[in-house]
Structure formats: C-alpha cells, structure tokens
C-alpha cells in the first residue's frame, strides 16, 4: 500500500506540473452555464477520460512486462520478492527512465523534454483545440481520452514504472494511483480557476521530481541489488511521504 501511496503522492505533486500543460485544457473546459452540477459532471467526465487512458496505458505496460518475463502464478509485491534476469533488466531500464525524468523535473536533463515535445504534439493539439469549443455532452470525455495520450514526462515515467511491475493488475493500480493523484489539482483548475501561484507550482514540480526519483531508485535497486527489496523497503518506510 505504501508503494501506491507514494505513486499517488507523486501524481498529486506532479499535477502541479500538469497545470502548466493540461491545466489549460481544464481551464478552457471551464464552467457550464447549466449550473454547478453540470460543470462538475463535465470535469468528472474529462478526468475519467484521462484516467481511463492512464489505466489503459498502465495495464498495457504491465501486460507487456508480463509478456516479456512470464512467471506463472507469481503475484506482484512491489517492495520485496525475488526477481529473475529479465525482470531485473526491465526494472533497471524502468528505474533509469524514471531517474532521468526526475532529473528533467529538476531541470538537469533536457533530452527527454525534446523527445516528449517533438512527436505528435501538433496533431494532438489541433484535435484537442477543436474539441474544446463544442457543446456536445460527450466532448469532455473525448477530450480527456486524447489528453491522456499527450506527450508528458510524468505519464511516461509511471508507464515505465507500471511495466516494471510485470503484471497487468499492479500496472493498472500504479497508473490508477497516479491518475487519481492528479485528480484534485485538475478538478481544482476547472472549478477554482488559475489561482495558484507560480511558486507553488515550482514547489510541486520539485516534490514530484523527488517522488519520482525515489521510485526510480527503488525500481533500479530492485534490478541491481540482490536484497534490494529489503533495502528499498526500509528506505521507503523511512520516507516522510
């Protein structure tokens, strides 16, 4: 549970970063003239669209991980348990990816930024823009679904983490925790507006970076250390998150 809570926290903190990008969409979705409940419904639709995409990516990543290293009957225990060679390899890759993302959050690494921004964003952006202006009740759902696929380092990081769980269900839970973590901030953006100071946004980014860094190190540790599970367990237990 601790593990999913850390993911949730990272999602929550990271969502202050999201505000910079996706928050714009949430803002633009704005208020419904038909009243508060309609507005809430609209934003819930938008966010559940987003969450579905995240969950789908999580399950897909987990299932892919499982396909790569099949272990019949074993259940995933995020913080302990032994791993075979393929799993170790995947864990190392995922861990490095996450650490890379975390460094990028701290502004230390620029490669990922270029990678994430470069592909497909224009096609997506155009599609999203035109969805924003329609009054159709299902439009927010579609917007959320597309939004979930927008290139975003946070999503990539957690998809990598989901893959390193080697199973569909934990993969789903990882991304679901992350997605739920982003809920409050995104809902707030829709409802409250853009009242958040840039300072707080920056703090959120740092906090998210720290969470991802810790998760990355833990994941990497699972791949590298023979008893890594126990070490990281101790590490996490002492972590104030």
């Amino acid at each position: 549970m601790t593990y999913y809570f850390v993911v949730f926290a990272a999602g929550f903190a990271g969502s202050f970063h999201c505000i910079g990008m996706c928050g714009g969409f949430a803002c633009a979705l704005g208020h419904d003239q038909r009243g508060t409940s309609a507005t809430v419904l609209r934003h819930l639709l938008y966010n559940s669209g987003r969450l579905t995409t995240y969950c789908f990516l999580g399950v897909l990543a987990g299932a892919l991980g499982q396909a790569i290293c099949t272990r019949e009957g074993a259940t995933f225990t995020p913080l302990n348990g032994s791993l075979d060679a393929a799993e170790r390899f995947l864990a190392i890759v995922a861990g490095l990816l996450m650490i890379g993302m975390a460094l990028q959050f701290f502004g230390l690494l620029r490669t990922f930024q270029r990678l994430t921004v470069g592909f497909g964003s224009s096609t997506f952006a155009v599609a999203l823009r035109s969805l924003l202006t329609t009054g159709h009740p299902a439009a927010p759902l579609a917007l959320g679904v597309f939004n979930g696929f927008l290139p975003c380092p946070l999503v990539y990081a957690f998809a990598a983490e989901a893959a390193s769980t080697f199973q569909a269900l934990p993969g789903l839970l990882t991304m679901a925790s992350f997605g739920l973590g982003t809920f409050p901030a995104m809902l707030m953006m829709g409802g409250v507006g853009r009242a958040l100071a840039p300072v707080w946004r920056q703090r959120g980014v740092w906090l998210a970076g720290s969470c991802i860094l810790v998760l990355g190190i833990v994941t990497l540790g699972r791949g590298l250390l023979p008893l890594g599970a126990h070490v990281s367990h101790g590490l996490l237990a002492g972590y104030p998150a």
Binding site: T123, L131, T134, L169
Partner: protein, 734 residues
C-alpha cells in the same frame, strides 16, 4: 474550388481519389475525400467546430477510445489471470459489462467502415473495408452469443481494438499525407487565392480571376506575389525559384518587375498589375500541376487492380483458415485466426505506395519551375538511358559571339570601333554581337553617318575617312572594295567550319574579317558532366552544319554528334537510339523541335515554357534551366525507387503477415496494429522525399572552372581575349 479539383483530387491530401471516393459537406463546401482518414483529418484541420459533423467525428474517436480502452483493460486483466481462483465467479458479470461497453463502441467506430462497405457494395464492388467489417462482425457476433450462452471466452477486445487501431491508423495516415500536401498546396491554390487590391485608398480582398491589368495590389512580407507587375512602392527581396529554378533571393525596389508566383520575403510591397491574374506563368504552372496529379500512372492502376483482386481472395483465404483450424481447435480459436487473416490483409499500404511519392516529386519539381506532364512521365524519366540534345538554343545560347578578328595589320580595337559605329544602326543578330563586343571592351565607337542597310548584304555608311561597309563578301564586291587574297582565304576558312563572317572595309578596301559563332551556354559542360556521372549517355542531334555541331560536341565532350538533320532525320535517329538503348529523352527548345520532342519517350523542352497543355514535350524547364536537368533526373529516380520500395514493402509485408496469420501465429489485435504500422511506414518512406536536397546552380561541379574553359576556347571573355587574339591572328595575316 474548381469543378476539376472537386472531382478528382482529395480535398485533404490532394492526391487523386480512387474509386472509393467519399463525399461530405464541410463548412458549406462540397468536399471529396479519398479515404475515411482524410475526411477525419480534414475536418479536424478545417472544420469549424460549431459544426456538428466535425466535432462529432472527434467525439466519436474519443468515446470509441474510452470504451475500447476500458474493454481492453478488463480483457488484459482476464488474460493476465487476475480473475482466477475465488475471483472467477466475477467473470460472467464482467463479460456482460464488456458486452455493454463493446456494443456502442462497435457502432460508433465501425459505422464508417460499414457505410463504406455498403456504398461500394451498392456499386457492385468490394471495398477493403469489407474485410474489417467481416472480421470485426465475426468477433463481435461470436462473443455476444458466448455471453448469452455463458460460454467461457469472449473477444470484445479484438472487435473494438481492431476498429480503434484502424481508425487511428487512418487518421495518422491522413495526417501524414496532409503534411505532404502542404508542399503542393500553394501550387494548387493559385486560383483559390485572394489578393488585396487597393482602390481609392480602400483595401478589398478579391479572388485571382478578377485581377486585371492596372490594378494596384498590396503584398505583405512572406506572402506570395500573385500577379505579374511592377513595384510602385516598397523595397524587398523576392524568391523566384518557382519561375526561374534559382532559389537565391532577388533584390526588388520601386520600378522593379515582379513575377507572379515569387515570394515577397521581407518588405511591404505595392504592385501595379500588368496583366490578368489567370494569364501568368504561375497560374499556368498551377494548372499543369493539377493536371499532372490527376493522371493515374500505370503503376497506380496496377496497384488498384491488385487491391480489387485482393479483397475476395483474402475473404476466401480467411474462410479456408477457419475451416482448416476448426478441425483441430475449438471454433473460437479458429475464428480468431480467420479474423487475423482478414485484418492483416487489408491492402491499405498498397494503395498508398505510389500516389504520395509521385505527388511529392511533381510538386517538388514544380516549385523550381519544372513542369512534368504526369506521374507516368516521372517514371519514364527515371528509366532514361540516353539524352539527345538539340544544339541551337539548347546547348548553345542561340546568339552569336565574336570568336576571331583577322585583319591586314589594323588593330582589332580600331576594327571594332569602326564596325560597331556602323552596326549600331543594325537590327541584325550578328551586328548586335559586334556592338556588344565593343561595349564589353570599353571601345569608343567611331560614329558613322548616312547609314543604310543593304538587305541580304550588310550595312553601309559614311565616316570621316569616307565610305565604310560591313557585310558579306558580296557587299564588298558590290561596292568594288578590294579583298586581299589572304583576307578572302581567312573568310573562306571561317565560313567552311561554320562560322558566320562579316567583312569590314573602308576607303575602297576590305580591311578585316570578323568571325562569329554560337557558343555553348556557360553551364552546359558542367551539366553534361553531371549527367554523365549519373550513368547517362549523351548525343547531339542538330540541324546545323557539321563543323558547328562538331565543335559544340567537342567542347562538351559529346562524341555522338549528328549534324545537318531535318526534323524527319532527327526522328529516325531517335528511333535508332531507342532500339539500342530503350528509353530515350530528347532535349530541345520546344518551338522548333516540337515533333521530335513528341517522338521521344520523354520530351524535355527548355526555356519556352508557355503552357504544358500546348506543348508536345512532357517536361518543361524554365528559361535557362538546362542546369536543372541532373537534379530532375535525381528527383525522378528518387521517386521511382521510393515507389518501388513502397510496393515491395507493402506486398511483401502483406504476404508474410498473411502467411503468419493463416498459420495461426498472429493475434488479430497485433495484426491490426502491424497493418496500421505498415501504412504509416509507407507514408514515412515517401515523406523522405521531402528531404531530397534542392539543386542550386552554384552546386554544379566545376561550374566556375568550366565557364573559364568554355570562354577561352569558344567564347573568349573579351577582356582577357584581346591581347591573346591580337598576337595570334594579327601575326597570321601579316
């Protein structure tokens, strides 16, 4: 939008629409699309979102995605073994949930495919989308029955994900094609473009066809200049590549002429139009590009036939697959294999292989002023083995230049000063060459009075020393000017090797012989060398005298020179060449060589470039565009090899995937993913053509060096050439 474009080019990707045209109304305009993907992408890009239709498409994609992702999520959990043991009792409820999710998803996503199939079916044809409908329908129907009968396995994930992947694949495909179309758009939009006209201080936006001579047009920086005209106000640079082929910006200021189609780079310009908007060369280029794109090349027709044949074949193969595997496996597994066969065989990539690449090629050439009649021409051009050139006006300037002055001891500068003083009054090409040479050398002419032209002889006048004349030997005889035997001999010799000769004489005596010749254009040799480096053979087919043609051939290092040919002879020579080296191109000036250009496999006209429709040539280069030839061959070859690799890939990939699917080694969802991937790969491969380098004149190998050599042998640069020549020729005479 004109009727022509509406009928045969896709509104989105500007490729010729096949037989699977899709008609829709966007923004109140009737649009035709070549495929469902293009219609989505077009509406995403252009559709005003207030419009129900455009938004609905995206919502459909989004909602379909939402539903199918949820289905996929549960299915993956089931496959991952989450609902085993105690949780297995949940399975029937999850199946019902999946049915509830899948039904709207299939309706929302499968609708367009079904409609396409039905529309084609009504016309008695089988569309490739029929394969998808069949496969998805089978998976959905089987799963529904399984849910009702509380059977073990359902395959809703297959049904919806296949649809989702194909829809997304088509959208991405259309997006890729639109990117390619961005290249072509300015070329096709000329008649749709609007121009800002300034009248009495008011600015109005008018369509191109309403532009007439004398109108004042405002062109902002970065905009295309839509009219031929003269700048009234403003300073800027213009990129005239589309007309002249050269991409160096040209400086423009008040009074400069501007050409329609060029791009105003940085200044705000006010231009007085000098003609109607639809008569410009730019408008003609656009028309011929549009026509070129509308022709279906042989290779495209072949691909069409293959697609048409594939659909029933694949359906039969799928049925056989199911029948075969059903003997050993449960029916649902066998059915899944059949679905995989149907899905993986969808021949989308085959249909895409040729048109995108050829359109990119044609557009690329057109933006440098090179017009190609159709895609078939581009294919022929890539296979050309021999290029036959006409001489005059193609390899040579078609303008005489002085190559030698031989006198009886009088300084050449004096000869030129006197001859030019007289020839200043002449309209004759040879006379003008003399005046130009004098001007180039900075020689002050000695003025002549009472000048009169003697038709067929030359020109006669008076100057301070008496009667002066310049013309042929007959003129000298008529005036009873004495011609020294040495000088006459010089004149004969020059005439015998094909030079034009002017005798210059005064005070009763012929004093000098000026020999003139048509010289190769400066970049001719570099161009020929560059073509040779591309493995092409060259030949000269000339109507001129032997020695003149031989000289040009020697200067350009072309061995195969035939001179003194009538147009009939030229055609016979081409025929002979064709028999020995199959594909032959003829390069000529289009005016005199019309019939010969028509006879060649590829007729290439240089410089006339009026209207392709009225030309017999199938390729037209801009004025002075000979140097573009190697580049054009490069582009044609690149397009050709791209089409070939695309077809090879599409067919090969389909074949391999089909085999795997029939052997039951391919999951339907993975089959759909690789299929969509295949189309995208074909698109990406074609888009590589965008990165083909532009050919800039300065890139011609040894161009500068070449110019020097050409000049010193045949067209001496007057400034360097005088001392040399004075030494040589003055000595021979004296």
């Amino acid at each position: 939008m004109t009727a022509a474009s509406g009928e045969s080019l896709c509104s989105h990707c500007l490729l010729p629409i096949g037989r699977r045209a899709l008609e829709q109304t966007v923004n109140g305009e009737r649009c035709t699309f070549c495929c469902y993907g293009c219609s989505i992408a077009f509406q995403v890009r252009h559709g005003k979102t207030e419009e129900w239709e455009a938004a609905w498409l995206l919502i459909r994609l989004g909602v379909g995605g939402f539903l199918s992702m949820n289905i996929m999520l549960f299915s993956l959990l089931i496959y991952g073994g989450v609902f085993t043991g105690a949780d297995a009792r949940l399975l029937p409820y999850i199946d019902i949930l999946l049915l509830a999710l899948a039904t709207p998803a299939v309706v929302v996503l499968g609708g367009p495919f079904l409609r396409e199939t039905l529309a084609e079916g009504a016309n008695g044809r089988l569309a490739p989308s029929a394969l998808i409908v069949l496969g998805v329908g089978a998976a959905y129907a089987y799963s529904t029955i399984a849910v009702i009968e509380k059977d073990a396995q359902v395959y809703f994930d297959t049904a919806t994900m296949v649809l989702m992947l194909f829809t997304v694949g088509r959208y991405l495909e259309a997006a890729g094609r639109a990117r390619a179309a961005r290249d072509l758009e300015p070329l096709l939009a000329a008649d749709r473009e609007h121009v800002v006209v300034v009248e009495d201080g008011f600015e109005t936006s008018r369509p191109m066809r309403e532009i007439e001579a004398g109108m004042t047009v405002r062109v902002r920086p970065g905009e295309r200049i839509a009219v031929d005209g003269v700048i009234i106000e403003g300073v800027s640079h213009a990129d005239e590549a589309v007309i002249t082929g050269e991409s160096q910006p040209v400086e423009k200021g008040p009074g400069s002429a501007v050409i329609a189609g060029s791009i105003n780079l940085e200044g705000l310009l006010l231009i007085r139009s000098s003609g109607s908007g639809t008569d410009t060369r730019w408008a003609q280029i656009c028309r011929s590009v549009r026509e070129a794109l509308m022709h279906r090349s042989p290779i495209l027709r072949l691909a069409d036939r293959a697609v048409a044949a594939a659909v029933p074949g694949v359906s039969i193969l799928a049925a056989l697959t199911v029948a075969y595997w059903a003997q050993w496996l449960p029916l649902d597994r066998a059915m899944l294999m059949g679905v995989a066969v149907l899905v993986v065989a969808c021949p989308c990539a085959v249909g895409l292989a040729a048109p995108l690449a050829t359109s990119l090629g044609i557009g690329r050439l057109a933006r440098h002023g090179c017009l190609v009649r159709d895609a078939g021409t581009l294919e022929e051009l890539a296979r050309v083995r021999l290029l036959a050139f006409d001489k005059t006006g193609t390899l040579t300037l078609g303008k005489a230049r002085i190559v030698a002055i031989e006198s009886d001891g009088i300084a050449t500068t004096e000869v030129l000063a006197i001859a030019a003083g007289l020839e200043r009054h002449s309209e004759h090409g040879l006379g003008r060459a003399v005046v130009r040479a004098a001007a180039d050398l900075g020689i002050e002419t000695i003025a002549a009075r009472e000048v009169r032209v003697v038709p067929g002889r030359g020109i006669v006048g008076q100057f301070d020393r008496g009667l002066v004349a310049a013309g042929n030997v007959a003129l000298m005889r008529d005036l009873s000017f004495e011609v020294a035997p040495a000088l006459a001999e010089c004149g004969h010799r020059a005439g015998a090797i094909g030079y034009s000769v002017i005798y210059v004489g005064w005070t009763g005596q012929a004093r000098a012989v000026i020999s003139l010749d048509d010289v190769p254009i400066p970049e001719a040799r570099a161009t020929i060398e560059s073509l040779r480096a591309r493995g092409l053979r060259m030949a000269v087919l000339s109507g001129d005298l032997g020695p003149a043609a031989q000289r040009v051939g020697a200067a350009l290092r072309i061995d195969d020179v035939r001179a003194g040919l009538t147009p009939e002879d030229k055609r016979a020579a081409l025929e002979r060449h064709r028999r020995s080296r199959d594909v032959v191109a003829m390069v000529g000036d289009g005016l005199n060589d019309g019939p010969v250009l028509a006879e060649a496999d590829v007729g290439i006209a240089v410089g006339t470039a009026t209207d392709l429709a009225r030309e017999t040539a199938s390729v037209v280069l801009p004025v002075g565009g000979l140097w573009l030839l190697p580049w054009i061959i490069d582009v044609a070859r690149a397009v050709h090899s791209t089409v070939r690799t695309n077809l090879l890939w599409a067919f090969g990939y389909n074949l391999v995937a089909l085999t795997l699917a029939a052997l039951g080694m391919l999951q339907p969802i993975i089959a759909a993913a690789v299929m969509a991937g295949s189309s995208i790969l074909v698109i990406l491969n074609s888009l590589r053509l965008e990165r083909l380098p532009d050919f800039v004149a300065s890139q011609l190998p040894e161009r500068s060096l070449e110019t020097e050599t050409a000049r010193s042998t045949l067209a001496p640069d007057p400034k360097e050439w005088v001392p040399d020549f004075q030494k040589d020729h003055a000595q021979t005479i004296s």
